[in-house]
C-alpha cells in the first residue's frame, strides 16, 4: 500500500515504510541536504532511520557550496 506525501510542493506516492534516506536516494539528492518534515528540521543523524508517514509535508534543500 502506498502513502501520499508532499515533497517540495509536489504530491508523491511512496511505498509504506519508505525511509527518508530512500526518498533522498530516489530523488538523486546526493551530498548534503537539509530536510524539514511538517516544518520541523531533522537532524542529519535521523535521515537513515526516519520512516515517512502518509500526509507529511517534506521539504528538502540541497546545501550547495562553491569555490
Amino acid at each position: 500500500m502506498d502513502i501520499h506525501v508532499i515533497v517540495n510542493n509536489k504530491n508523491t506516492a511512496l511505498p509504506e515504510g519508505t525511509l527518508l534516506s530512500d526518498l533522498l536516494k530516489k530523488n538523486s539528492y546526493e551530498g548534503r541536504v537539509s530536510v524539514w518534515i511538517d516544518d520541523v528540521q531533522l537532524l542529519a543523524a535521523d535521515y537513515p532511520n526516519r520512516v515517512l508517514f502518509d500526509g507529511e509535508k517534506i521539504r528538502i534543500i540541497r546545501l550547495v557550496g562553491g569555490g
Binding site: 528540521q41 537532524l43 521539504r59 534543500i61 546545501l63 557550496g65 569555490g67
Partner: protein, 631 residues
C-alpha cells in the same frame, strides 16, 4: 608566541634593498598576509592619498604569515597588497601553491617592492642574497616560457616564481600574477601594478619546510587527516572533482549565473561540470605545499589545453561557460590556458566577455566595434582571439575590454552600464545573490570589490543542528536558522559580518579557505586556534582571531575612505535584483529595499557611520587603529 617579522624592502628605482624587523607586539595585531600588507601599505604611503595605482608611488607587497610553511593542509598562501588599479581601493589578492612556503623558508614575512625599474628586471631571493636581475629577454614572454628562461638563467630548477605575462606588462586592469603557470593572484589587477614597475617576476630559492613549535601537538591536527577528509563529504568531493564539483548541483537548483546573469538556469551544466572533467580530460590532481586535499585539477586536451597550465576551476568554468552561454568544455579549457599564459584574471576576463556579448546582442556594440567578431551567447570560438586582443590591449575591442566592464560601459554608454555585474569596478564571481543573499551584503561592502571568498555562504544557515556547517559558524556568533532561498534579513547581515571577520583573519594568517573555515571545511575555528598554538606557540582565541579579521577590514575601509569612497560605493548592480525567470527556483530574488536594510544593519554591527561608511571613533579606538592618518 609570535616572533618578530622580517620585512624585505626592495626599491626598484634605486636598485637597493634593506631588511627591517617588525616587533612581535605589532606583528601579533597584524599577523601576516592581508593584515600585514595593509599595515605596510599605510607605512609606505604615509598620508598620501590619491596616488596613481600604476605609478612608482604605489607599493607592491607580498606577505605570508607566521604559520606559512608549517606542513599541514591549507597553510601555503600568499597575499599581494597594493592600491588596486581596477577598483581604486585597497587591493588584495591571494594565491596558493609553493612560493608562499618558500618565501617563509627564505626567512621573510613580507617583501615590499617600491619604485620602478627603468628596464625589465626580476627579483631573486636566496635567504640573505637579494638580487635585482635583468629581465629584458623575459619581457613579452608568456608565463610558462618566462619561467623556463628564469631556470636557464639561474642554472637550476630549485626555485619558485610569481610571474606576470603580457597582460601585466601591458597593464590590463585585471592582470594577474601567475605562480606555476596555473595559480593566480588573480583579482584586483595586481599584475598590472607589477607590470608598471617593470618587474617581471619574484623568484625565491626553494628552502626546507618550517618546523612547528610543538611537533607532537601538531600531530593532533595532521596525523588523522585522511580520516578527516573521508568524514567530510564536501572535502571528499573537492578531492575528487576539484572546486567545480558543485557546478552541476548549483545549476540543477537554477542558481548558476548564466547569460551575463540574466538567469540562473543553464541546461547543459553537466557538460562543463567537475565530475565531467574528472571522467574525461583530467590528467592528474595537483596540490599546494603540504596539502592532503589535492583539489587542483590538471587537464589535457591535445591542441587545446596543455597540462602545464593546469585546468579550469569552478569560477573559470562558470565565467567562460554559463556566463557566456557556452557548454564547450574544450574552449573553456583553452580560454583558461590563454589567461594563464598571458596572466589575466579568468573571473574578470570571462565576465567582461559575457558583458560584451550582451552589449553586442542588444546592439550596443556592433561588428565594427568588435573587429568583426560575432559576440553571441554560446559562440565560444571568439574566446581565443578576444583574450589575445585583451592581453595586448589591441586598439578597438581589446583595449576597451582591458579596462574591465565598468570602465568600458562608462566609455560606450547607451545602456551598457545597466548590463555590468560589478561592485567597485570588479566583476562578480559566480555565486548568485538570489541563492546566497548574504553575498549581496558582502559583494556590496567588501573593501576590494565583489569577492566570493570574503564570507561564508548561506547554505550553512540551513544545515541541520548536528551538522558542522551549523555548529562551526555558531562558534563565531549566534545565528538564527534559515529555511528558504532568497532570504535577506538582519540574520544574514550578521552572518555576512561575522563570517567576513573570520575570512579576513584567514586571509591574514594566509590559510586556504578550502582547508580552513567556519562551515564545511576540513579544519574549523577551534582548529585554527590549535594550529596557532602548536604551530608557533601562540595562545590565541577565537575572539582574538576574529578581532584580527575585523581590524584588517577596518584598515581597508579607512584606506578607502581616504581615497574618497563612501556608502554610495557600497552598492549592487541592477542585475542583483533580477527575479529568477526560470528553473526549479523560479521567482526567487531579493529586493533593493532588503539589500539596503541589510547593509544598514551591517554598518551598525561594524560600527560604521551610516552616511559616510567610515568606522566611528569608538571602532577605531577599540581596534587600535588611531595611528592611521586620515588627513
Amino acid at each position: 608566541m609570535i616572533s618578530s617579522a622580517k620585512i624585505l624592502y626592495v626599491n626598484l628605482t634605486e636598485k637597493t634593498h634593506k631588511v627591517e624587523t617588525l616587533s612581535s607586539e605589532i606583528y601579533r595585531k597584524y599577523p601576516g598576509g592581508s593584515a600585514l600588507g595593509m599595515y605596510l601599505l599605510f607605512q609606505e604611503q604615509g598620508d598620501r592619498a590619491g596616488i596613481d595605482p600604476l605609478s612608482p608611488a604605489n607599493p607592491l607587497i607580498f606577505s605570508v604569515s607566521p604559520l606559512t610553511g608549517i606542513p599541514i593542509s591549507g597553510q601555503s598562501r600568499m597575499c599581494v597588497t597594493t592600491k588596486s588599479p581596477l577598483t581604486g581601493t585597497a587591493g588584495d589578492s591571494q594565491v596558493g601553491g609553493f612560493i608562499p612556503a618558500h618565501i617563509k623558508g627564505n626567512g621573510y614575512d613580507s617583501i615590499v617592492v617600491t619604485g620602478k625599474s627603468e628596464t625589465p628586471v626580476y627579483l631573486f631571493i636566496d635567504k640573505d642574497t637579494v638580487e635585482i636581475k635583468d629581465a629584458s629577454a623575459l619581457w613579452g614572454k608568456v608565463t610558462g616560457d618566462a619561467e623556463k628562461m628564469i631556470g636557464e638563467d639561474l642554472g637550476t630548477d630549485k626555485f619558485e616564481a610569481s610571474i606576470i605575462g603580457p597582460g601585466g606588462e601591458n597593464q590590463v586592469l585585471y592582470a594577474a600574477i601567475m605562480h606555476q603557470r596555473s595559480r593566480a593572484n588573480g583579482r584586483n589587477g595586481v599584475g598590472a601594478v607589477m607590470g608598471s614597475k617593470n618587474l617581471k617576476a619574484l623568484v625565491v630559492k626553494k628552502q626546507p619546510p618550517q618546523k612547528p613549535f610543538d611537533p607532537i601537538g601538531m600531530k593532533t591536527l595532521t596525523l588523522n587527516v585522511k580520516e578527516r577528509i573521508a568524514a567530510n563529504e564536501a572535502v571528499v568531493d573537492l578531492a575528487l572533482n576539484g572546486s567545480a564539483g558543485c557546478l552541476s548541483p548549483a545549476a540543477e537548483e537554477g542558481f548558476l549565473a548564466t547569460n551575463n546573469w540574466n538567469t540562473g538556469f543553464f541546461a547543459n551544466a553537466k557538460k562543463i561540470d567537475g565530475t565531467t572533467i574528472t571522467t574525461t580530460i583530467l590528467k592528474e590532481r595537483d596540490t599546494c605545499f603540504g596539502c592532503a586535499i589535492r583539489c587542483k585539477g590538471v587537464v589535457s586536451i591535445p591542441g587545446k589545453a596543455d597540462p602545464e597550465y593546469g585546468g579550469p576551476e569552478y569560477e573559470t568554468l562558470a565565467t567562460f561557460g554559463s556566463y557566456c552561454g557556452n557548454d564547450d568544455l574544450a574552449d573553456i579549457c583553452e580560454a583558461n590556458q590563454l589567461c594563464n599564459m598571458y596572466g589575466i584574471d579568468t573571473i574578470s576576463c570571462g565576465a567582461v566577455i559575457a558583458w560584451a556579448i550582451e552589449c553586442y546582442e542588444k546592439g550596443i556594440l556592433t561588428k565594427e566595434d568588435t573587429d568583426g567578431l560575432d559576440l553571441r551567447f554560446g559562440n565560444s570560438s571568439v574566446f581565443a582571439p578576444l583574450i589575445k586582443k585583451i592581453a595586448y590591449k589591441e586598439k578597438g575591442i581589446g583595449a576597451l575590454l582591458a579596462l574591465g566592464s565598468e570602465r568600458a560601459a562608462a566609455q560606450i554608454g547607451n545602456g551598457a552600464e545597466d548590463l555590468t555585474v560589478t561592485c567597485k569596478g570588479q566583476e562578480w564571481p559566480a555565486h548568485m545573490v538570489q541563492f546566497k543573499p548574504n553575498l549581496a551584503v558582502n559583494y556590496a561592502v567588501n573593501n576590494f570589490g565583489a569577492d566570493h571568498q570574503s564570507s561564508e555562504h548561506d547554505p550553512a544557515l540551513m544545515a541541520p543542528d548536528d551538522d558542522q556547517n551549523w555548529i562551526w559558524p555558531n562558534q563565531l556568533a549566534e545565528f538564527k536558522k534559515c529555511d528558504a532561498y532568497g532570504i535577506l534579513d538582519d540574520n544574514k547581515a550578521k552572518f555576512a559580518f561575522e563570517t567576513q571577520k573570520c575570512y579576513s583573519m584567514m586571509d591574514s594568517l594566509c590559510l586556504c579557505q578550502f582547508a580552513f573555515g567556519p562551515a564545511w571545511q576540513l579544519y574549523g575555528p577551534e582548529d585554527i586556534v590549535a594550529f596557532c598554538k602548536y604551530g608557533v606557540g601562540w595562545d590565541a582565541s577565537i575572539e582574538e582571531l576574529q578581532e584580527i579579521g575585523e581590524r584588517r577590514i577596518n584598515m581597508m575601509r579607512l584606506y578607502n575612505i581616504r581615497e574618497g569612497f563612501t556608502r554610495k560605493d557600497d552598492k549592487l548592480p541592477k542585475k542583483a535584483f533580477i527575479v529568477l525567470p526560470e528553473g526549479p527556483n523560479k521567482g526567487v530574488g531579493i529586493t533593493p529595499a532588503e539589500a539596503e536594510k541589510a547593509i544598514t544593519t551591517y554598518y551598525r554591527l561594524a560600527g560604521w557611520d551610516q552616511e559616510t561608511s567610515c568606522p566611528n571613533a569608538e571602532t577605531v579606538e577599540r581596534l587600535g587603529l588611531g595611528w592611521i592618518s586620515m588627513s
